[in-house]
Amino acid sequence: MPGAIYAEGLVKTFGDVKALDGVDLDVPEGTVLGLLGPNGAGKTTAVRCLTTLLRPDSGKAVVAGVDVRRHPDTVRRSIGLSGQFAAVDEYLTGRENLQMVGRLYQLRPKAAKARAVELLEQFHLADAADRPAKTYSGGMRRRLDLAAALVVSPPVMFMDEPTTGLDPRNRQQLWEVIKHLVSGGTTLLLTTQYLEEADHLAHDIAVVDHGRVIAKGTSDQLKARTGGERVEVVVHEREHIATAAQVLRGLGKGDTTVEEHTRKLTVPVTGGAKLLAEIIRELDGRGIEIDDIGLRRPTLDDVFLSLTGHVAEAAGPDARDEDDESRPQGGKEAVK
């Protein structure tokens, strides 16, 4: 049985650019899929196709059990979308924005009003509820946008780069909200350029590049594909490098790499913590003083590099709202 979000061979072309070149996705109910890829990989196009905003040229898309191409109106009743922009009316207050969205989800005026109050409370916007949204900071706007997407507690949610342009504190906060949401059983598709974010929030990750899914799996599976663990040692004295390298060659499973200027040695290993302890004992036994030692597992950055041959671009040119908390008219951030 297909999952809450299911896509098969989605293709979308703009002129001669193939934005989607046969994308397959399957997100089981109640899980989070992280769609990871650099700018222009096709993440947003995929979200727009799945949320009825764009009609794919070919392929099949089913959301919440409903065919997206055949019954877009039915799909819209079961989804929430938080796009790349904080799509709120800046001249309306937070409360008015949420009431409007509630009414357009066909809630009765009373229900829309009550729901707005609840959401403002939950998203720590109650103090700013009756101020126009243009006085909000970037983080507050993002929260309002997310609240708007949650007005009817849709079973399936889409978030397109929800934390792009947010400062670390606001990002952390939004992550908490998202985790809470998912713990309530919502199925979520989330796009991100931040590998850390996908690692943190998603059960499964699909890596997208040039309109195709080039790898799929859990974060651990993807990391395992890139290669196993390695041990990194930083020795205190430069003259100990040679001896340390000898030790690592003996215990490790492959070539030892040495960075002279940082006095760092790296060797692939199998055997985890037990082996790490052994290496420490051995180095200690030879009187080598160490500044740092650790068992390192590959990061998603490594995964991305090995899969695509290029580094994931961090915040690209479309990173907005960078000025976040520094807006002069920004007003007070709601107390956490």
Partner: protein, 285 residues
């Protein structure tokens, strides 16, 4: 953050027509709240037509020949219908800019992902613009009365006829906001929508009977002016107001201006609403 998962579910779909009206009203309300928080927009919207009334009355009055008369009073009474008609069509720019802005800010995406009636975003916007046009027109009529505009100088009129004339003006203004809606959906930025919403209005409103008697134009230009939808409404207003300078041309819209004005406006709404809503349904930001 506390629970965000309380079960609020969408109600089953109701009568599509009722939903369409309700959604349009929600969007119209949103746009009216918005307009009320940007009062400078309304003020600037008023300054331009008021300036036209004053400038045309005092600068052109006396040197214009209207129906064989060069009297400044006759020109003033002739002019007002033209200025009224021009003013209502300027709402095109504001509705175009508003919709382009929604597009630009990602609001159209949000609306399109909601289970709402397809035409409601644009209908709501045009209805809000209609309210603004009404306010503008009332203020302008007061200014016109202050500079000495009087109805009934060329025959009989009554309050019903005067109101009917204002009704035709508002209908024309409403029709033109749908042209604005299409422009707003078609351009990339609000700035482009404002300028492309206004530029073509100058030839449309000047190659007409709004400010001069088309009888003095070269024949081909006169034909354009006489068949211009805009002229039909101006002529209808002059007939209903019993103002001077009514065209004696035998062109059909000039002989049946009230009907012509109604037909033109309804036709514009039918065509441009269809095109704009179609554009909305396939819109890509």
């Amino acid at each position: 953050m506390s629970a965000v998962t309380d079960a609020v579910r969408v109600a089953p779909p109701g009568n599509p027509f009722v939903q369409s009206v309700r959604d349009s009203m929600v969007v119209a309300q949103r746009n009216l709240i918005r307009m009320s928080r940007i009062p400078e927009m309304i003020i600037y919207g008023l300054i331009q037509p008021i300036m036209f009334v004053v400038l045309f009355t005092y600068v052109f009055g006396g040197s214009m020949q209207i129906g064989g008369s060069t009297s400044a009073v006759d020109y003033k009474n002739f002019l007002m219908a033209g200025i009224f008609a021009q003013t209502v069509t300027f709402a095109t720019a504001s509705s175009g800019a508003g919709i382009a802005d929604d597009m630009h800010k990602g609001l159209i995406d949000r609306f399109r992902s909601l289970p709402m009636a397809r035409g409601a975003v644009l209908t709501g916007r045009t209805l809000a613009d209609l309210v603004q046009t009404t306010v503008t027109l009332v203020v302008l009529a007061v200014v016109a009365l202050l500079v000495g505009w009087r109805v009934g100088s060329q025959g009989d009129t009554d309050i019903a006829k005067v109101l009917a004339a204002f009704g035709l003006l508002l209908l024309l203004g409403y029709a033109f906001t749908w042209i604005g809606a299409l422009i707003g959906m078609s351009v990339r930025t609000p700035e482009a929508a404002t300028s492309s919403g206004l530029i073509w209005l100058f030839p449309v409103t000047f190659i007409s009977n709004a400010f001069v008697d088309p009888g003095h134009m070269t024949p081909w230009l006169r034909h354009v002016a006489e068949w211009n939808p805009f002229s039909a409404t101006a002529q209808a207003c002059r007939v209903l107001f019993a103002d001077p300078g009514q065209s004696t041309s035998h062109a059909w819209p000039m002989e049946h201006p009230v009907w012509a004005s109604l037909i033109y406006s309804i036709l514009i709404i039918a065509v441009f609403r269809t095109l704009a809503v179609r554009k909305y349904r396939s819109a890509t930001a």
